[in-house]
């Protein structure tokens, strides 16, 4: 018998608490796979958010921090000053954490060009607290605090983080990816790998936005929620590379 795939060694055996069909587990695995391929599992440091990934430290074997809501980039900045520059540092944050309460911390970590990697899970909703409107909830999308769908005239407009942060000088690499089918999962993995490689070259902040689903709070089956991300999600939040200083350097 030939083993063709195993659980990454960097992940623990803890039973994940994520809902069935949620892509958090996929992204966790991608991070672990990439760090293993880069030989960086030993000295990596993860900063977890408040939100669905609050218990993420249970799933990674490396040193971990659980940060206050939205403050992961600041915690990462403090850690970065102290530890060896070869240590990989990543924060893992949802849309409420990163784009609402932590907007200032996100923007300023980008402005400083902190040599960290930010993994941004954009599922357009507050998952852990039960489906409230997020800063990324799309117009017309329903949530428990906009039950008839988000009307921008009443609730304000959603934010496109990757596009906005790409206007700043500090970030080195920004890409929006998704995990709704195998080709896109592979693309997401390539993006995460590139982000960590740029960090290893100490070129500045790398930001990977993962367009994610939330079947529980969308009130959809996992498949329906994947399809929602594939169609409406990708239409409103186009996938692609928004900033890449390695390309600019090669020009």
């Amino acid at each position: 018998m030939k083993i063709v795939a195993t659980k990454p060694q960097m992940l623990t055996d803890a039973h994940m608490h994520y809902c069935p069909g949620c892509t958090h587990g996929i992204v966790h695995r991608l991070i672990a796979e990439v760090l293993e391929e880069l030989g960086k599992t030993d000295n990596a440091i993860g900063i977890m958010p408040v939100g669905c990934a609050v218990f993420g430290y249970n799933y990674f074997k490396c040193d971990m921090y659980q940060a206050a809501h939205g403050r992961a980039p600041s915690v990462a900045s403090g850690v970065r000053r102290v530890v060896n520059s070869d240590n990989i540092i990543f924060s893992y944050q949802g849309d409420g954490d990163l784009a609402s309460i932590g907007m200032a911390e996100t923007v300023h970590a980008c402005m400083r060009g902190e040599n960290i990697t930010v993994i941004f899970i954009n599922n357009q909703i507050y998952g852990m607290t039960g489906g409230q409107m997020a800063p990324t909830t799309m117009p017309g999308e329903k949530a428990t605090t906009c039950i008839y769908g988000r009307d921008p005239k009443v609730y304000g407009n959603p934010v496109h983080m990757s596009e906005m942060l790409a206007t700043l000088t500090g970030p080195a690499y920004i890409e929006r990816v998704a995990c709704f089918d195998v080709p896109h999962v592979r693309q997401a993995k390539a993006a995460i790998k590139k982000a960590f490689q740029i960090q290893m070259e100490k070129k500045g902040l790398t930001f990977i936005e993962v367009l994610a689903n939330c079947p529980t709070n969308y009130h959809m089956t996992p498949l329906e929620s994947m399809n929602f991300v594939k169609t409406k999600g990708c239409e409103f939040y186009p996938l692609g590379v928004y900033k890449d200083i390695t390309k600019e350097e090669n020009k």
Binding site: Y65, G78, V79
Partner: protein
């Protein structure tokens, strides 16, 4: 060698001498000399400084640096300290050491930038959410700020607890002669390898965390914290007694106000009135025992708590005196500072 130091700058250099290599701050009057000094000084000694985008961010940078095992610090003034409370609660919840300086200004709200002591409750009773305490020092001279800042990092490390040092604009801005202790050899600082999350490669995860979802686990942590506070109270309580051997009228005051009370004590004694002072140096743990013991002395007539507030520490004085003697209060607010003559008059008229 003694040199003339501005209070804020003396604190900064004392922190560097104590082995602090990381400072994260945000401008606010009247503490700006601390981040300004650190912004160039720390790079000279191989450390780092970040001017954060907010006090909220700065205290979370402290959380990160302290979690990675470094001696880290932030400073601010009243409204900024309010913003740091979330992070201070997390630091307490994650059992991390750090030093926080609050050069108090008058409030509430934006208030004014002149001296005040209106943050006593915030500093000593928690400030942020949940059951926790900072260790709180209230020095009254520039030299004492230096000595306490130097020691604060050791105390923070020993108990893995945030230490807050409070002063006011008067103390932060005044210049006095002070001697900075020798630079600590960083290799002699406490080893934090067993818990600091700085990217170990030994296969054992270090976790900096304040979430405890299991009720019994969290209650056990609450119990652990309060056992720690009992030990701190036993070992770290500090106060100064001033002319208390035969005093009938006892002032209780801290920080800059205690210096004004000392002048009043001398003036009253020159007129034959036996006055004295108890000056708490730690505000948490509070030196209740000396106040309680003093209250039992038969010749003590009353206590007069003097603060630049509407009366906050006076509640702890009343608890310590426990009805044994009258406890009066005199306070000025808004940045106004009492004169020794005000206190002399108060004692003479109330005799």
């Amino acid at each position: 060698m003694k040199k003339l130091w501005k209070g804020n700058e003396a604190i900064a250099e004392a922190a560097v001498a104590a082995g602090c290599r990381y400072f994260f701050g945000y401008p606010i009057t009247p503490q700006n000399e601390i981040p300004e000094y650190m912004s160039w000084r720390l790079f000279e000694v191989g450390g780092a400084f970040i001017q954060a985008e907010s006090e909220v961010s700065a205290i979370n940078m402290v959380y990160g640096a302290a979690g990675a095992g470094a001696r880290a610090m932030t400073s601010s003034s009243s409204p900024g300290i309010s913003l740091k409370q979330e992070g201070i609660s997390y630091i307490a919840g994650a059992d991390l050491p750090c030093v926080i300086v609050n050069m108090m200004r008058s409030g509430p709200g934006l208030g004014g930038i002149q001296p005040a002591q209106g943050d006593y409750f915030q500093a000593t009773k928690g400030g942020g959410h949940g059951d926790y305490h900072c260790i709180v020092y209230a020095p009254s001279t520039v030299q004492e700020f230096v000595d306490i800042t130097y020691r604060a990092f050791d105390v923070a490390d020993e108990y893995r607890n945030p230490v807050m040092i409070i002063g006011d604009g008067m103390l932060g801005q005044m210049m006095e002669s002070a001697e900075i202790p020798p630079m600590r050899d960083l290799s002699t600082l406490p080893n934090k390898d067993s818990w600091a999350a700085c990217g170990h490669s030994d296969g054992k995860q270090r976790l900096i965390n304040s979430i405890r979802f299991e009720a019994d686990e969290l209650e056990a942590f609450n119990d652990y914290l309060f056992k720690k506070y009992e030990k701190i109270a036993e070992k770290e309580t500090r106060y100064e007694e001033y002319y208390n051997d035969d005093a009938e009228y006892i002032f209780v005051a801290y920080g800059s106000v205690a210096r004004i009370c000392k002048a009043a004590v001398m003036e009253l004694r020159s007129e034959g009135i036996k006055a004295g002072l108890i000056r708490p140096i730690t505000l948490y743990p509070y030196p209740s025992k000396i106040i309680n013991d003093t209250a039992k002395k038969p010749y003590v007539k009353k206590f007069i708590t003097v603060e630049m507030s509407k009366g906050q520490m006076v509640e702890d004085v009343r608890l310590a005196v426990n009805g044994a003697k009258p406890v009066e209060f005199y306070g000025r607010c808004g940045g106004n500072v009492m004169m020794p003559a005000d206190l002399v008059k108060l004692v003479k008229e109330g005799k």
